[in-house]
Amino acid sequence: MAPVQTEFTPAAAASDVRTPESRRLGRPVVHVLWLALLLPYLLGPVPLFKVTSVVLLILVAIGYNLIIGYAGQFVVVSAAVMGVGAYATAFFMGHWGLAVLPAILLAACLSGGLGALTGLLTVRLSGIYLALMSVGLAEAAGIVMERWTAVTGGENGLAVTGISIAGQSPPSPVAMYTLVLVFTALGILVSWLLVSGQWGRLLKAVAHNELAARSAGIDVEATKRTVLVVGFFYFGLAGGLSAIVNGFLAPDDFSLTVAINHLAMVVIGGMGTFIGPILGAIVVGGIPQLLSFSKGYETVLFAAAVFFVVIFVPEGLAAGPRRLWRSLRRNIALRAAAVRGSQP
């Protein structure tokens, strides 16, 4: 995490105007996305499926980054809202006979609406109360997913029926990859537009110092509610896409543990930056896919990685290799000095 300024000063706002990393990095990201279109020609179906599920995580990480990284609202509900999006998509397709695209979009809108409702409950809360409220909401959603068997299939899971993309049913891995990539690219573009403009500064002002933001005429409550709607839309979209990609849903895929994994993507990538969540999703989501460890090793490594980042490179991967290296050396030196100092 970048060190949060405790006081909101005009200088802090101005520095965001002068060197927004989103401006610098917009173009390289677009080029990477073009290159990503070539992947289906290079990879077989199984690796392509793995890549698809990693690309999907970028949407989740962006949503988290807007809510936690920019607006400072510690709301740990990504997995639960993804679940809502996924089950809603399956429901719209299975019961209403909607096609893939309208089902996903409707499910994402439903999730966004849920964000508005959540906002009503959470805008007055802060600190641990906000975090606990969000945990309560996530757990409640998890229990509903487990017990509302008529819609979710309960613990036995639910097979998504009627998946068809461009006439292919079931769709090929290439078609699913393309679908996810297009949505993710649009998601990145929209987040780029959002955070590089005035709205990004608004969010940071609210996160840095609510009182100062309020006295500067910012409607703090409205800002918090809006960011929840936008973030939940991203989660719902990711959930809907995951329903299509996996074709099978189980409540375990949307548990609090999964939400914590998502949080780690943003922490490792770099909170409150444009590129951080994208890098974090690729690294945190991709490495386990590459190495295919057993679940236990994966979790232990994961926790170790989070600790390493928070202790030694709190800026996250978004800081870039040069600043990361400097930060690592400085923090190791600091730690070493602290250890020497405490043991005379």
Partner: protein, 296 residues
Amino acid sequence: MEFFVTTVTSGLVSGAVLALVAVGIVMVFTATRAVNLAHGEVITLGMYASLIGLTHLHWSFWIVLILMPFVGAAIGLAMEAVAFRPFISRSGGNNALLTIFITTLALSLGLQGFLTLVADTAGTGVPSPFAIKSWNVGVLHIAPYQVLTLVVSACLVGVMWLIVARTQLGRAMRAIAQNADAAALLGANPKLISSIAWAASGALGAIVGALLVLPGAVLTPFSGAPLLFITFTGAVLGGFGSIGGAVVGCLFLSIAQQLFAGYVSSEWAALVPFAILIIVLAIRPEGLFGRNIQRV
């Protein structure tokens, strides 16, 4: 009537266990303003330690119960050293809170992952060290393990409350929570007090682990974690920060849940604590018994 009494009794017993968990969390929160999200794993580790003592070393339950606070204190101190101490000096305020959330969450996940490597994820059964046959007094049917759980919980909660409310140590703890620098100037040692709180919290967590294997249980690496969130709800009801409030909150919650399961729907009873949490926080963000303090 008989059903009602049995339901309330089992609610009271599980509430007493939750209250012990809550007191552990509130102790750390009072002394350090940190919430230990890995406290569920203290309980899980306590359960596995009890399992080893009971089934591998063939100790009596009493020895296990007496050893458990020491095991737990060690776990608590280790957690403090890993997930709390390295992160407090550098950042302050809300940022520190977020950092501790993330580090204790990561610790919780890491410990769960570690346990899945060394233990059986399908579950390890522990037979009850006590005869299950219950005592009957009129309409009241109560098992020996339930009585023991209630007695141990009541004693420990009482001792902890006395320490925080009535001793110099407790006074120092509350002073540090309000203003660590000022308290240090007046002679309190924030580092020592914080360590004592983490050790006490760990000891309580491990005792909870031992109490949970009393009726016989199937342990998995994820046994402790769900308890934590229900406990949070109880602590929030009590205003998060007062031991008495947390205990009352947990008892209320647990009895309400059992009554709901008994009279309305056992399928949806798991939802009750979270529904109460959401409603309470939406209406009174400072909890039912908490005082409304605005910090600017």
